[in-house]
């Protein structure tokens, strides 16, 4: 059998991700790069990095099929096709665990609730794409207020003994509210717990719209936020199923899996 290679490239608002798989679906290479202004440049950089450690492939041209996805998907001129990130996240998560039925995908600029069919395709979805509250950008802003990096902020709430509610729904107002709470000498970990809880509640409402059927998993960059996962599990009263693959590259993985499917059509 001739070995073929397939690529998936997910251009988000904050990062670009690429995944290269072979015939059997095994991941040979992956990458996460910061987003450049031009989505096509980001895609080229992400793919270049993902291909670096695969000696069998010299360039993008050696890929049998390449699917672009994400916010900048339509700008990747060298992709064979582009597919919505909603479908790609569903397919990627399903590939990792076939019992996954519901996904919350938290990216840099939007949040999506996705329910999936038995074959990994999308059944329903709901998205919050007009407001930064609850997205990666929101967490970045919060970490800045706490003068921490994102990783430290993510873990801060884990040590909280209680929770100080953050009631503002808007990112900008929430920032003001958190600054006031910090200035009031409230414990930072309790405020952080309030922030995580507010976002978890927003995700819960979004998931309610598509129907919450276990197993539930989380994808996207914010899936690495341990404080958020704890808060989300509390809101859902359901364990979040961990994925065997870095949750940030699930969209790109789904795109690569679609590339394999489409090429064999």
């Amino acid at each position: 059998m001739i070995q073929k290679y397939y690529g998936g490239c997910d251009i988000g608002s904050t990062t670009g991700k690429a995944v290269i798989i072979e015939n059997t679906g095994i991941i040979l290479g992956s990458s996460i790069v910061h987003r450049e202004i031009d989505p096509e440049v980001t895609a080229a950089l992400a793919l270049e990095q993902a291909l670096k450690n695969i000696p069998e492939i010299n360039s993008i041209k050696d890929l049998a099929y390449l699917v672009g996805t994400g916010y900048g998907r339509s700008e990747i001129s060298f992709a064979s096709e582009n597919i919505s990130e909603i479908s790609c996240h569903a397919m990627g998560a399903f590939f990792c665990d076939r019992s996954i039925k519901t996904i919350v995908d938290i990216g840099g600029q939007d949040v999506k609730g996705i329910s999936i069919n038995d074959d990994g395709t999308v059944k329903e979805f709901a998205m919050n794409d007009k407001c930064a509250a609850g997205t990666g950008r929101f967490f970045e802003a919060m970490a800045r207020i706490f003068r921490m990096d994102l990783a430290d902020f993510s873990d801060l709430s884990l040590n909280a003994r209680d929770l100080i509610p953050v009631t503002a729904q808007c990112s900008v107002f929430a920032e003001t509210e958190v600054i006031s709470l910090l200035a009031g000498k409230n414990p930072p970990e309790s405020i952080a717990a309030g922030v995580q809880n507010a976002v978890a509640k927003r995700c819960f409402m979004l998931l309610k719209r598509v129907g919450i059927i276990p197993k539930v998993t989380i994808t996207g960059g914010c899936a690495k936020n341990r404080g958020l996962i704890k808060a989300l599990e509390k809101a859902l009263q359901e364990k979040i199923a961990p994925l065997s693959v870095d949750p940030q590259i699930i969209g790109a993985l789904g795109a690569a899996l679609y590339a394999k499917k489409r090429e064999s059509r």
């Binding site: 339509s74 919505s84 909603i86 479908s87």
Partner: protein, 468 residues
């Protein structure tokens, strides 16, 4: 270019010409000085005059009889709009403003000239999508909350900016929502005209309600006779009701035909005709004529095996009023995905013909239509009023998916969205809820609306987009 393409171009050009002629004739009749004065008083007249943009928008992707139907419906709207504007110019002593849930049949039978203020908030965004922004802002500057429906806000804005015609009297009701009711307080204050408010009972499905409400209509007639020059002509009301019944008869024939797969006519040809000719000018011979010709065009298409949308793939039910500032939503979805809008919540009803055998039966018949108006019956009482219609239409018209125009200002329908999702999920009906505002494109832009459609069609319906 094919001959059929040339014919289509000729059809659209013909209707555009007729529209221009009707508008020009009205201007000439009014005279240049009076016209300039009135354009300054009612600047929206200039926006209405751009109606041929709407003709282009809705015609360019349609072919054959479907294109003819769209052009004819729009020309019918233009003709009646011209007549209504002439009412402001020349029949001001008979002018009565009426709210959108109060049908104008009784006013006409009294020899009065009806004018529905909401008409502008509905029609203008179809022609110039962002035209109502200044009126919405004016309403909010008066203290109306941002989350109130933008349609009554356009009425408030037009009122406070003194751009509504002065009327001898105003008739309104407690329907369909609080926003609607509050807008007429502004109209009352600004116009200093006497206002009559119809009390429509909350439980409207029994005989007691019908008797009570026909009493309300009698009270309204007596009030109008006291405050205007209008006098009730019961014979004329009978003629109007009989004409309305004839129009309805044609509409029922049309619905029978569009139940076929593929449908011979669809979308705006069906829902704009109902929206306009039933709510603004029902009971007129010209309105019945539009429906007669729609039936003829549909019949011809059926006979020749011609579909409105050549490769009809998905049959959609549109719920809530159409997306006014993106009125070509289905014209584009037809082309892009083969989506065909078959029926909508504003058109569909299961009410009987008006019994014209006596004064009482006519008033009860008209009253039934007011009490069961689409937004009225769907946003009052138990949720069955809402969902029974949805699932009946889905079954009767072979619907594949539900498109909910999720107007953010309509709290009544927003409150039902999750139940609707759950019920449709149980029935296996895919649902697209389009987040948008009825008259304000700043809430969700045209691009934002199509993005939602594309996401839904690609991910849920697994549809392939035909062109980028």
């Amino acid at each position: 270019m094919k001959i059929s393409d040339l014919k289509d171009t000729a059809v659209t050009s013909g209707y555009k010409m007729l529209n221009l002629m009707a508008i020009t004739k009205m201007g000439i009749k009014h005279g240049p000085f009076d016209l300039i004065r009135d354009i300054r008083r009612y600047p929206w007249l200039l926006d209405l005059a751009k109606v041929n943009r709407l003709v282009t928008k809705l015609s360019r992707s349609r072919r054959g009889n479907y294109r003819k139907a769209v052009g004819m419906v729009l020309h019918g709207i233009v003709k009646e709009m011209v007549h209504q504007i002439e009412g402001i110019f020349h029949r001001q002593e008979k002018l009565v403003l009426h709210e959108d849930m109060v049908p104008p049949e009784i006013l006409r039978a009294m020899g009065l000239s009806p004018w529905m203020p909401e008409m502008l908030g509905i029609l203008l965004p179809m022609i110039v999508p962002n035209v109502m922004e200044e009126y919405i802002d004016a309403a909010e500057n008066e203290g109306i909350p941002a989350d109130v429906c933008s349609l009554p806000k356009t009425v408030i804005g037009l009122t406070v900016k003194d751009r509504l015609p002065y009327a001898k009297a105003v008739v309104t009701s407690n329907l369909p929502c609080d926003g609607g009711m509050s807008s007429y307080i502004y109209v009352e204050k600004q116009l200093k005209a006497p206002v009559f408010r119809l009390d429509i009972p909350h439980h409207f499905k029994d005989e007691r309600a019908e008797v009570y409400f026909s009493g309300e209509l009698k009270r309204m007639i007596a009030w109008l006779e006291e405050h205007t020059t209008g006098r009730m002509d019961w014979n004329l009301l009978q003629e109007i009701c009989e004409e309305r019944n004839r129009m309805m008869d044609y509409e029922l024939q049309l619905w029978e035909m569009i139940a076929a797969r593929p449908a011979p006519l669809a979308a705006d040809a069906v829902y704009l005709s109902h929206l306009w000719f039933y709510n603004v000018c029902s009971g007129l011979k010209s309105s019945t004529e539009v429906f007669r010709r729609l039936v003829m065009l549909a019949e011809e298409n059926l006979k020749n095996g011609v579909a409105a949308v050549p490769d009809e793939k998905y049959r959609a039910l549109l719920w809530n009023p159409p997306t006014m500032h993106v009125i070509d939503l289905f014209a584009i979805a037809e082309k892009r995905y083969g989506v065909t809008c078959i029926m909508d919540s504003m058109s569909f009803n299961r009410l009987p013909f008006i019994d014209t055998s006596s004064r009482e039966s006519m008033l009860q018949g008209i009253g039934r239509y007011i009490m069961n108006g689409p937004m009225a019956r769907h946003t009052r009482g138990p949720m069955e009023n809402y969902f029974d219609d949805i699932f009946y239409i889905i079954k009767r018209f072979g619907i594949d998916m539900l498109w909910m125009a999720g107007h953010i200002g309509c709290k009544n329908t927003q409150a039902l969205n999750n139940i609707m999702r759950e019920k449709c999920r149980a029935e296996g009906i895919p649902v697209l809820i389009i987040d948008y505002d009825l008259a304000d494109p700043r809430i969700t832009s045209r691009e934002g609306i199509f993005l939602q459609v594309d996401h839904f069609m690609e991910n849920v319906m697994k549809a392939e987009r035909r062109f980028l």
